[in-house]
Symmetry: C2
Subunit: 356 residues, 2 copies
């Protein structure tokens, strides 16, 4: 394999590459499109750790038999404002998209809805599903459990997953929604890897070593270290809330029962859980009143005085939307590590390389 | 006024004191009991900053005409799984209790419910309302907006309130629920005051001075400093989510429109907003299955290995429940600063002092 370089290309080209790779691996058009939609949107935000880079390793699990490209997720139980989805061990992106669309549909009838998913897989960027709701004018929330990688205050080892929490709030018809997507650890594991690969020591607030104490040696993660919880007891507490709503209540695997999509046996399902909430803004408030109120908050923050060197206070997601608008206008620049993964994908599954 | 000392008394005695003070000020039996319930429970957790200590300043607002002891909050608009409550400018504890009870009732029909409140006041400890749901076997969430006191990344001044977030998860019929109650600032403002009163410098991670940069001088808060957001962009982001659900969507005052219950004109309403969510666990899962699953998580955490000097990993709220069990068995020890406020209350409104 030759060394890969960064590549700039239209978003449509990346989408077509992902869609073709999925179909070549055995997914039907709709399944392939759902995955390509999620990964391309995520890359367009500049969130390359959770975009098309994942596809090579996802399909490794598919080839080994640990994940299905042909099953269909379905609602296994439901009530007026809630549903539980059996993910049928399809890709997390497919089960999560189905679940959030179900939540949006329910919320349009009842105002608010909660949809849980069990028997699913790593779903990439939590923010994508929150955005699915905001794009339709609803407030969306999205979360998932995962195998423990994060310490609790006083613990020797990992106790909870880095359990992501995301929300998105629409801000009007011609305006990007507010969009937060965060891990409940101080930093995501990917940041520890990246610093280690650059040969840099890491801050003492990122990981704890095998003695449970802070360390600056990023090489210890993940096998000999745990991530630190965001703000100590607060991050640990929010992570447990997510374990409750995305794990306990959905029937998914819990904490150490969850498989690691990267490190565990690729012939076996990971049995992740996820949860989605949708709030139908229009059911609760006249659209013009809602827009006036949310714009008040947005405009006030944008006009707030800043410290030296800061142009304006950004809303959650503002940096990502700016990245996307630039990618739409000028093409998306995929970093070399992403191109390398996509090249390996093309080499293993056939088809042209993404840069062609 | 003589100097007050700490006092140990039965919880019933504290409850009776609060109830009598409320009735003497003009509240009817039910209103007074609702407030006494919330404040006494909060004190029993050892959360003295948000318990009966607040009553003196609350009643100062009542006397000035800024808060009502006689209005009745009511549902002003609703749908199948949501309601908006007009708090009618009663005490926050009364409006919030009414709202969470409404959410519980709705969730028993639809599985999940969201209730927003506008025209309300400072509601004390967010965790109390989450617990109201957990006590009935539901998962509860509770949040509120407030006048800005917390910086955003890069801001010179406060941008959002310390907007509290709380949840409570039931763990079975004879077991204390998991209970998190957190400000979205690094630390609550009360901690800054306390360190300043003890003459101690504070860590650089607590507040920013008027130049927007971290300072160790606690005397600057609140007039010449802003609290730092928990984990920077994450705390700021969660705080905005709460502004959306408890402020924008409810019709409450937003950010700087909210009145400070401590510092602003006591003749005027503060117009806080709040939001509550309830998830009816029993609608979604057989009770024995739910209990088995949540106990799995609880027992696993309690058995997790710890660093030296730590007996076991605590669940969110575990310290507070231990404090309450001790207070129930041996009486509650009210710190001197709480007793001083209750003494002023008795002196101003009549009635016996709490220690009598």
């Amino acid at each position: 394999m030759s060394e890969s370089k960064s590549v700039t290309l239209p978003l449509e080209q990346l989408h077509a590459f992902c869609q073709a790779a999925m179909e070549r691996a055995g997914a039907d058009n709709e399944y392939a499109r759902t995955v390509a939609d999620a990964l391309t949107m995520t890359d367009s935000w500049g969130t390359f750790t959770h975009g098309s880079k994942l596809l090579f390793d996802y399909l490794r699990r598919v080839k080994a038999g640990g994940m299905s490209l042909t099953n269909k997720p379905f609602v296994s139980r439901s009530g007026p404002a809630w549903a539980m989805v059996d993910g049928q061990n399809v890709m997390g992106q497919v089960a999560a998209t189905f679940a959030m669309r179900t939540a949006i549909e329910l919320a349009r009838t009842t105002g608010v809805a909660y949809v849980g998913v069990h028997n699913t897989n790593h779903f990439g960027a939590a923010g994508y599903y929150s955005w699915l709701a905001a794009e339709q004018g609803l407030i969306g929330m999205s979360m998932a459990n995962d195998i423990p990688s994060v310490a609790a205050p006083g613990s020797l080892r990992a106790v909870t997953g880095s359990n992501p929490l995301s929300y998105s709030i629409p801000t009007g018809p011609n305006s990007d929604p507010i969009l937060l997507d965060m891990a409940t650890s101080t930093v995501a594991g990917g940041k520890v890897y990246a610093a280690h690969q650059r040969g840099e020591p890491i801050p003492t607030t990122w990981i704890n070593g095998l003695d449970g104490l802070p360390t600056t040696d990023g090489s210890l993660y993940p096998l000999k270290a745990a991530l630190q919880p965001m703000s100590g007891a607060k991050g640990y507490g929010i992570s447990l809330m997510i374990e409750g709503l995305a794990g306990v209540l959905t029937g998914a695997a819990l904490t150490w029962q969850v498989g690691s999509w990267m490190f565990d046996d690729p012939t076996q399902p990971t049995r992740h859980g996820a949860a989605f909430l949708a709030f139908d803004v229009q059911a609760m408030m006249a659209p013009e009143e809602y827009e006036r109120r949310i714009r008040h908050v947005v405009d006030e923050i944008h006009a707030a005085p800043t410290i030296a060197g800061v142009d304006h206070i950004m809303l959650p997601g503002e940096r990502e939307w700016k990245h996307r608008h630039n990618a739409l206008a000028n093409g998306l620049t995929l970093p070399a590590d992403v191109v390398a993964k996509l090249d390996r994908l093309a080499d293993e599954w056939g088809g042209e390389r993404v840069e062609k």
